[in-house]
Symmetry: C2
Subunit: 217 residues, 2 copies
């Protein structure tokens, strides 16, 4: 099958030097891409600045900002059998980007931020109302409730939820513990494992959803 995977953070410029970003390393998305390639699938990987190397055997599309990721995904998602949005796209960006480096002053500085365009929210329509859409929800509280809300608002078939407030799991590190939230309301907890192991399980679930057998429930 053909799969679009997004990975990594995006960066939103404050000035030519400074930016707002998040702690995503891209490891989970890259592990998913590797697992998909390993199962013989065609992968387009749209990725922000990664802390790990782009895996061999994928079509890699590098972006920096949320806006660039939105545009790249719009180009690539149509007709995909599945799309897995593991990227941690910036929700906010500075309203104004300074043309030259802001000099340090004595006092406080106010940075006004505006919402970015909703990448995951654009994909159900962008894929052509076919294909399996998988989102990720990185939460620090009310994990399943927030993930199920995201699933319904964005028209996902599956949301992979992880608690990023837990020490040693989630962002930046090699291990994670996730909860799979399905559109029919089922919730499946996967125990703590390496991102590679979790990627293998998630790829199996997505293959099942694409085949119409309802995944790992």
């Amino acid at each position: 099958m053909r799969v679009l995977i997004t990975a990594g953070p995006t960066r939103e410029a404050i000035d030519p030097v400074r930016f707002v970003s998040n702690r995503s390393s891209g490891k989970m998305g890259v592990a998913l891409a590797e697992a998909m390639v390993g199962r013989g699938h065609e992968v387009v990987l749209v990725h922000g600045p990664l802390a790990v190397a782009v895996p061999a055997g994928v079509v890699a599309v590098a972006v920096v900002t949320a806006d660039e990721m939105y545009e790249a995904v719009a180009v690539w998602c149509m007709g995909m059998d599945a799309a897995i949005c593991a990227a941690a796209v910036a929700d906010y960006r500075p309203v104004r980007v300074a043309a030259s480096k802001i000099k340090k002053g004595e006092g406080r500085m106010v940075l006004e931020l505006e919402p970015t365009r909703d990448v995951l929210g654009s994909m159900r329509a962008g894929m052509g109302y076919g294909g399996v859409l998988v989102g990720f929800a990185a939460e620090t509280e009310a994990l399943v409730a927030n993930a199920m809300g995201k699933l319904r608002r964005k028209g996902c078939d599956l949301v992979v939820a992880n608690d990023v407030s837990r020490e040693g799991l989630g962002f930046e590190v090699d291990r994670n513990e996730v909860i799979l939230c399905y559109a029919d309301g089922r919730v499946e907890e996967l125990g703590e494992a390496s991102k590679g192991e979790l990627a293998g399980v998630i790829v199996g679930v997505v293959e099942g959803l694409v085949a119409g057998v309802g995944g790992g429930g």
Copy 2:
């Protein structure tokens, strides 16, 4: 000799997931550390999150925030023969850090930032008024004037200035073109070169300044 080198960006948390940072990769500081080790010097490398590996043969002190870098430098700089501050320490940090992940809303969001403590500015006194102090100035305009101002305000012996607005040079990439600004007013332009080559030249200049022969003028 014993040298303290700082490298990389710092990250200032907005909430458990998001942060403000800058485009420094740490490549210049790491190249300087490698060149110093290669010349038989003892190196303490205080570094933020790096895009490259910590070189072998250094004492590495990992930090995340500007405040952590300030504290680490205060501990390590006393009695050093030289200190080279190649880190791009955040000038501003959020006044308030949200305890849980800020949810995306419809409207704009205001982020209030406050100045961080001045790491380079603390070092002249911190080193015990001896030793050679080298700063870096990443500028997008008025390169030499800004660098010379920084040199005088911070009590540096040398400021290495680079124009980060130039495509393909400076932040993130492997090549740079810098201007050496000395305390006696001399200005020395080094042509475009790899960061490794520039590091070799800068190490030679610092060795000269430590030996009291006035560096590369």
